[in-house]
Symmetry: C2
Subunit: 202 residues, 2 copies
């Protein structure tokens, strides 16, 4: 048995907060922090690898996993299902490894309900609503109605931040990664995460 159990770090953010980039850089820059590989029913996009970016499964397989309680949380996004497999998470907890989950507010609630004290929730926010709007428009991939819809959705999601343990305001990407790194490193030092049998000296 190691000195402590693993920790599940949950990162949530309204769309446009820069969460995807932050997650990728966090995995690169923070030692011993593993990504959680989600399951999805959508088709692989160009450049995506099964088992690395996602586990790609059929609708039937997804339903089977849900029925067997093998998913810790699920979400429906744009006609596809997404989910987080329980087994790798629970193995990481027991083996004292730390995992980073990039999920929405509802998923974060499910994970917190299932894994309680082993979960650390981090909310990422753009510095202002105006900045969020600018970021969404800069993408230029969506029409005005879609941008408006995303903005409304972001505002709703974002009202959930008080449920989280930490708030990172993402005005500068490198600074945001450093803040997440500090959260991960500090949580690893928490006395109440030490294993019961921990006896530093005798």
């Amino acid at each position: 048995m190691g000195m402590r159990r693993g920790i599940i770090f949950v990162l949530s953010a309204p769309s446009g907060a820069g969460k995807t980039t932050l997650t990728r850089e966090a995995i690169e820059r923070i030692a011993d922090l593993e990504p959680s590989v989600s399951i999805t029913t959508r088709a692989p996009r160009k450049g995506e690898t099964g088992g690395v970016d996602y586990h790609f499964v059929s609708d039937d397989e997804f339903r089977r996993l849900v029925a067997n309680h093998e998913l810790a949380e699920t979400a429906a996004v744009f006609d596809a299902w997404y989910g987080t497999p329980r087994q790798p998470l629970e193995r990481a907890l027991v083996e004292g490894r730390d995992v980073l989950l990039d999920i929405d507010v509802n998923g974060a609630r499910e994970i917190a309900r299932l894994y309680g004290h082993d979960v650390v929730r981090v909310f990422v926010m753009p510095p202002s609503f105006a900045e969020l709007e600018a970021r969404l428009r800069k993408r230029g991939t969506e029409d005005e109605a879609a941008v408006k819809r995303r903005l409304e959705q972001a505002r709703a999601e974002y009202s959930a931040y008080p449920e989280y343990d930490y708030l990172i305001i993402n005005s500068d990407r490198a600074a945001a990664v450093e803040k997440l790194k500090a959260v991960v490193e500090a949580e690893r030092l928490k006395v109440d995460r030490l294993s019961k049998g921990f006896a530093p000296w005798n």
Copy 2:
């Protein structure tokens, strides 16, 4: 009113854990972390400046401060009194500034009792009892009986670590400072430290 109240970081360690050096380097390396200047009845040592290293006061003045409840905690060490003035601490809390206190286990209990949720307690430990013994002997300033007494005292003090929030095992000085920095930066991001009026967007 700022975005949050200040935080009192309390650092305790058995003698020989490297606390004095760690405190000094933490103040140098961690942005916006201020030292607390203690009050003492002992005479200034060579190179010490009143108001910077300590506030040097007479026994009578110390007794007056205690009687007026102007000290947050006190400790008697080698025939001298030490104490932490309340006013600068409480002003820092209100003004949203963070303070580092280097005090013993009893002092840490007093500070936690007075300032509750505004206090973060960090315990620093040498990597092993053998290492502690080696460090104490390397100083070469004390006879065998004094080293033995310090070791026993350290063992007793050190059994208090479960009362603390964070545990830093000080095997490498630079790494220990980085860990303390992570604790300070993470605590500053805690959602439950945000001021009641905090409204990031509207």
